[in-house]
């Protein structure tokens, strides 16, 4: 197991008390797995990703353990994490398009990065980097350019190259395709799978709200709802036979190419996710769920109902038990 997360909880401090954005999340990630993490805005998916690399000082891990390649990851100790970032865990941040400083040329930015990580053999890393730049269809002259001279897709790809330069074990890719055009989306998505195939990164957590992109690139998909995991399974299972009512509703609300309004009327999910300040007890999807029943006032366990298929829903658990 490359990554294992046990019972991780992450809270933000706020004036109205601690907001537990990630609440008791457990999952494992195999070597070479691309796990898609999907959910609505405010579901805690980005917080979960950020917590694995510990970047935001407002955020604190209030419980749980993360292990990477058999070693504990010191996720609440920023100093100890520093030597592991880039080399073991790396992040492509949300809005990566604006993550590049406008006052430095790309090449300079990368050299600075290597210096600050005390990489001795910089020449070798840079040669490898140029190889990768060619690989993704960019020209080497991007290194001599400023970030504003590149298009959004080029910037996004340069950021991914930078984040994966030292072959990290785990890459957290936060909304890397969201702000891009379809053709560029595809290029970036394929770049992620290719980098995994070539072993530049061992495993990837791809965070996005776009299930269709995940269906293309991910091996497994995890659905998050209001700070908890709702369902995790292989991509085909999530897309074709989802079990959690939330996943089912989410998939049903996506228009596909070829679906027209006069033939099929799609339906959204009524209501909103609950506030994470004093969230309701029990299943958090209860209020919007068409199948809710009495048992749902208790918190459902996130359990394996079929091999590799985890669901947190009483209805599903009961049906499986029968």
């Amino acid at each position: 197991m490359s990554v294992s997360v046990e019972n991780l909880s992450v809270a933000y401090r706020s004036r109205s008390g601690d907001v537990t954005a990630v609440d008791g999340v457990s999952f494992t990630l195999a070597d070479g797995e691309i796990m898609g993490l999907a959910g609505e805005s405010g579901s805690g998916k980005s917080t979960l990703g950020n917590a694995l690399i510990y970047l935001d000082p407002r955020m604190k891990a209030t419980g749980g353990k993360v292990r990477l390649d058999g070693k504990d990851l010191p996720i609440s100790d920023s100093k100890a994490m520093r030597s592991l970032r880039m080399t073991e865990v790396s992040l492509v941040p949300q809005y990566a398009m604006s993550a590049l400083t406008p006052t430095r040329k790309i090449g300079r930015l990368i050299t600075d990065l290597l210096k600050s990580h005390r990489i001795r053999d910089r020449a070798e890393v840079l040669t490898e980097m140029k190889r990768r730049i060619e690989l993704i269809g960019l020209k080497e002259d991007v290194l001599g350019k400023y970030s504003f001279e590149l298009s959004g897709g080029m910037r996004q790809r340069v950021t991914i190259i930078m984040s994966t330069l030292l072959n990290p074990s785990l890459l957290i890719a936060d909304e890397v395709t969201s702000a891009l055009d379809v053709s560029t989306q595809r290029a970036v998505g394929e770049m992620l799978t290719e980098f995994r195939d070539r072993g530049y990164v061992k495993s990837v957590i791809a965070i996005t709200h776009d299930l269709a992109i995940l269906a293309q690139i991910a091996d497994t998909i995890t659905i998050m709802y209001a700070g908890r995991l709702a369902e995790k399974a292989g991509t085909d299972t999530i897309v074709n036979e989802p079990l959690h009512p939330y996943t089912q509703a989410l998939i049903a609300s996506l228009p596909e190419v070829g679906v027209r309004h006069d033939e099929t009327t799609l339906t959204g999910i009524p209501g909103r996710p609950p506030s994470l300040v004093n969230p309701p007890a029990g299943c958090r999807f209860r209020d919007r769920c068409p199948f809710a029943f009495a048992k749902c006032t208790e918190t459902p366990p996130f359990e394996e109902v079929k091999p590799g298929h985890y669901v947190a829903c009483w209805k599903v658990s009961q049906e499986v038990a029968k």
């Binding site: 298009s151 560029t184 992109i213 509703a249 228009p255």
Partner: protein, 354 residues
């Protein structure tokens, strides 16, 4: 009946950074929008789709060409005429979070139009009107009135803005990427709302970069590329049998739930530049002898070189001013010439390859 006619509209933007170079954002775009019709305007970033919306809303003056509403060129409207125009033509934009002033309650957007358009309506009538508009966008007045923007979800905010347009006697709605910032679970509700409004006779210009959303709501589709129309016609025809290579490329790149991206049809390309040695190296070092991913990016490389061509054209355009272009006298007019459209089948127009 045609509600709005866009005729040969071109727009040149003068860049301040490149020594006043001109960028053709729109190149002689013409189409008609009818009552009770949704047209989706699809294009990638930089294709000029937002500029069209802004020209129609008269936020941007076209360099040449006209937009006609009810038989009148909208450029001729004076202050009063423009106010009446806005009574019938309204826009809703991409980011609902920045459409509101966070200091005021969200329903202040209604008070603002009341001051201008309905100064003599009594409070009771006005409240009834608001309630009817909110019901039309399937919002419960009690849930949204008197709330601050941060207390509302993105979908609610976006529907409040559509309701604002409905308060006026709106006939044309320019919806510029109105659902791209919404969550998947609420997107569909806004889309279904647009369809409902369309059935009651509203003409909607649905600007988007998302092909599946455009396909879902629209009756007709226009595909834009670098400011020119490359394909246009009935949605079922454009999506059912796309004729232009660019449309096909876009469609093949759309991520779909039940179908994986296919690598093969795009065909191999050589990696550009003098790094050909590296290119072979890459192809050879692919595990399991699969096709190298550079090949799959052919479409993107292609787009980039096309963009470069357009930039070169800008440099030529620099020599002539916008006015010279409009009169058709300058050589720059050539640069603005869009690829020619021909009718492939009834209500399906395709441009020549550029």
């Amino acid at each position: 009946m045609s509600a709005l006619k866009v005729d040969q509209v071109s727009k040149l933007f003068r860049a301040t950074t490149r020594g006043g170079a001109l960028t053709p954002a729109l190149r002689k775009v013409s189409f008609e929008l009818n009552q009770g019709e949704v047209i989706s305007l699809i294009g990638e970033s930089g294709s000029g789709k937002t500029t069209i919306g802004r020209v129609i809303l008269r936020l941007v003056r076209p360099t040449s060409g006209t937009v006609t509403f009810d038989g009148t060129d909208i450029a001729t409207y004076s202050q009063h005429g423009l106010r009446e125009y806005y009574r019938h033509v309204q826009g809703v934009f991409q980011d609902p979070f920045s459409s509101y002033n966070p200091i005021y309650r969200a329903d202040r957007v209604y008070e603002l139009i009341r001051d201008v358009y309905f100064p003599h309506v009594s409070d009771k009538d006005w409240n009834d009107k608001i309630e009817a508009a909110l019901h039309a966008v399937t919002l419960n007045p009690g849930d949204v009135l008197g709330k601050y923007p941060h207390q509302l979800s993105g979908g609610q905010q976006q529907r409040l803005l559509i309701a604002r347009a409905l308060l006026l006697d709106v006939k044309v709605l320019v919806a510029d990427e109105i659902i791209s910032m919404l969550d998947a679970s609420t997107r569909v509700d806004v889309l279904n709302l647009l369809i409902k409004l369309k059935r009651s006779g509203l003409a909607i210009l649905f600007v988007t970069h998302d092909l599946s959303l455009g396909n879902y709501v629209s009756d007709r589709t226009i595909i834009l590329r670098h400011g020119a129309i490359v394909e246009m016609g009935a949605t079922a025809k454009v999506f059912g049998s796309p004729q232009h290579d660019y449309t096909r490329m876009l469609l093949s790149a759309v991520p779909e739930l039940h179908k994986k991206w296919q690598h093969s049809p795009l065909g191999p390309v050589a990696v550009a530049g003098n790094g050909s040695a590296v290119a072979t190296d890459i192809i050879e070092s692919v595990p399991n002898g699969r096709v190298a991913p550079v090949l799959a990016h052919a479409s993107v490389l292609d787009e980039q070189s096309h963009a470069e061509q357009v930039v070169k054209r800008d440099l030529r355009a620099r020599l002539g001013g916008g006015r010279a272009v409009a009169s058709g006298k300058s050589s720059v007019a050539v640069a603005l010439e869009p690829p020619e459209l021909h009718e492939f089948e009834p209500d399906h127009w395709v441009a020549e390859p550029e």
